[in-house]
Structure formats: C-alpha cells, structure tokens
C-alpha cells in the first residue's frame, strides 16, 4: 500500500511539470516568437528611419529617438534593449559584414583619356586594395568637365572608364569583376559654368568593393 502510494506520487510530480510546461508553451504559442528591430547610426550619427507594420496593422516608426522595437503576436512596441544586449544579439551578424567599399579618384589630362602623372602613381595602391579583398569587384565611373558638347562628354567619360578598365584587366583583374559607366559632365566635383575647363572634374571614380 505504501509502496503504491509512493509510486503514484513519483509519477505525479513529472505530470505536474509537464502540465506546467504545456501551459507555458500554450501561452507562448499565443504570442508566437519575437522579432527585434534595431537601428544603428551611421558614422555621421544619422540613422534614417524605418516604418514597421505588424500583420494586424499596428505601426511603429524606428528613428533616431526610437532605435529598437519588438514585434510579437501582432503588437509592436519599444524593445528597451541596451547596447550590451544589442551587441550580444547581433555579434555574429556584425562580424560577417563585408568590408565597406574603398573609393578612389583618378584624374586625366584635358580632352582625353591620358592619366595625369600624379594619378598614374596611385594605381599600385588601388591594386593593393584589390588584392586585400577575398572577392573583389570594381565599379568605374567616368566624368568630364564642361568643355565640349554633352554628347561628346558622354563618350569621353565612357572612354576614360574603359581605359582604366583596360589597365586593371592588364594587371590581372578579371573582366567580369569590372563594371564601367560614364556620367559625362552631369556630376561635376566642382560645379562650373558651361565650357569651363576644370581639372578636378576630369576624373574617374573607382569603387573597390
């Protein structure tokens, strides 16, 4: 008799825990798993903003003042996470961020696709940066000053980008990893009146990504 009692009480305890577990998982199941959203400021301190809307139409705006939110079971509210818990939550993700692109400018002699002597000497540094990256690709965009017609400058800008492409291909960068474009005189570094020769606008911008 005694034995039997102790046996049932022994099974009763686990059953009690299982019951608690079921209730807990049922309650959690109602709200479902959580989603967290965090804005991080850029180097200049700006965050931009993001409008979050839940499936049930609840809204929340993430911005410089409200940098984090939690969405769960149709509700969205401030998550009140401190920087340590944010860091912990996203560490492995942040560790996998690609290197930001490196930006270079090369300048040309007037009216053609001949690099200035100064810019010629920069090529090695750009190649070093390319080699530092495990899967590099280049974006080369040509620009001109405002001497000449818009159409001629579009062609010249493309020719400048193409010349730089050639240089990097010759030095071992695979063609399919280089994109070129020309913007002509549309995007001057130094705005000028038409037909003004401006050395700083005769350039290519190179992104090593």
């Amino acid at each position: 008799m005694k034995r039997q009692f102790s046996a049932t009480s022994a099974t009763r305890f686990p059953a009690y825990f299982v019951g608690l577990g079921l209730v807990a998982s049922f309650l959690a199941g109602c709200a479902g798993p959580s989603e967290y959203f965090v804005l991080q400021p850029a180097k200049d301190g700006s965050t931009g903003s993001m409008r979050a809307t839940s499936k049930e139409g609840k809204g929340f705006v993430l911005d410089a003042k409200n940098t984090n939110a939690q969405s769960r079971g149709g509700a969205i509210e401030a998550a009140k996470m401190d920087s340590d818990s944010v860091k912990k939550m996203f560490q492995s993700t942040l560790d996998a961020q690609p290197l930001p692109p490196s930006n270079y400018r090369l300048y040309f002699a007037e009216g053609g696709d001949q690099l200035t002597p100064d810019s010629q000497t920069q090529l090695d540094a750009i190649l070093e940066e390319i080699k530092r990256r495990p899967a590099p690709d280049l974006v080369i965009v040509g620009h001109t000053d405002r001497v000449g017609s818009v159409e001629d400058n579009d062609k010249l800008a493309l020719r400048r980008a193409g010349t730089i492409r050639q240089i990097f291909e010759t030095r071992g960068v695979i063609a399919e990893n280089i994109q070129t474009a020309g913007r002509g005189e549309r995007e001057p570094l130094v705005p000028t009146a038409d037909e003004v020769a401006e050395a700083r606008n005769r350039r290519v911008e190179i992104l090593v990504r």
Binding site: P33, Y36, F37, L39, M50, S92, D95
Partner: protein, 155 residues
C-alpha cells in the same frame, strides 16, 4: 465569329512569343544583383529548387534563398553598395532587386524568415524613402535606415 475571335487572341500570344527571347537576354545581363563577400561555416543558396554551397565570390540573383547553418554566417554586397549580413541558423529570400546605376532608382525587397540580419544602406536607400522593403513572418518594414538589424526568433 469564332474565327475572328481566334485571330484576336492569337495576336497577343504571338507578340508574347516573339518578345520572349529579347526579354530573356535583358534579364540575363542584369541577372546578378549581389555577391557573397564573406562566407563562414555552412552557407547555402536555394535556386530553382536546388541547393548548393555559397562560398566567397558566389553571385546572387533575385529569388535566391540564402541560408546559414548552426556555425554559418554570410555577408553579401549588392549592386547599389548596400550590404546584408546574417548570423547562424538564418534564412533570407531576395524577393526583388532593381537598380539603375545612373539615377540610383530602384527597389530592394527581402524576406527574413529566421535569424539575425544586418542591412547597411546603399544608393537605393538614398534615392527614395520607400525603396527598401524588408518583411518578416510578422512584420513589414519600409524606409531608408542607414543600418537596420533584425532578429527573427525561430518558431
């Protein structure tokens, strides 16, 4: 009557058939929208019903699904210089990506099914406040965040 009907429905059909090759070519030229720059542990792409590993250098297309294993993490860079990185046990679908490198106009759509993701803005986020759209199982997000981090807990 039946005859003319048939003729009418045939014309758009023909037009579609004729236009298919040029569309396919245009799509092919711009097919790759991103490249894997960081890949650690198990990282896979699902494309057209097949899964294969995604080492550094892998190029990505719209509709690709990128998934990481328990020890995996991945970082990719898109044509507009935006980057997306993801920690272990994550899954992201590239639902849409259009980008005009001259005007910076276009749109970025991704679905984060699970895991931790960090999205750093590129040119698309600069050119319009609604160009970047991220969805998760419970939430839609639209905006021009400089850096948005997302954690979707597993079910």
């Amino acid at each position: 009557m039946r005859h003319s009907n048939f003729g009418l429905t045939c014309i758009p059909l023909l037009a579609v058939m004729v236009s298919i090759p040029s569309h396919t070519l245009a799509a092919d030229a711009a097919a790759f929208v991103a490249q894997v720059k960081v890949s650690r542990g198990v990282v896979k792409i699902q494309r057209g019903g097949q899964a294969f590993p995604a080492p550094v250098g892998t190029r990505l297309k719209v509709d690709d699904v990128i998934a990481t294993g328990g020890n995996g993490s991945v970082g990719m860079m898109f044509a507009d210089n935006s980057t997306l990185s993801m920690g272990p046990e994550g899954e992201v679908s590239l639902q849409g990506f259009t980008y005009d490198p001259t005007t910076y106009m276009g749109a970025f759509d991704a679905y984060v099914k699970q895991g931790t993701v960090s999205l750093q803005a590129g040119n698309l986020a600069q050119s319009g406040p609604d160009n970047v759209r991220i969805s998760t199982p419970q939430t839609q997000l639209t905006g021009n965040a400089k850096q948005l981090m997302i954690n979707v807990e597993a079910k």
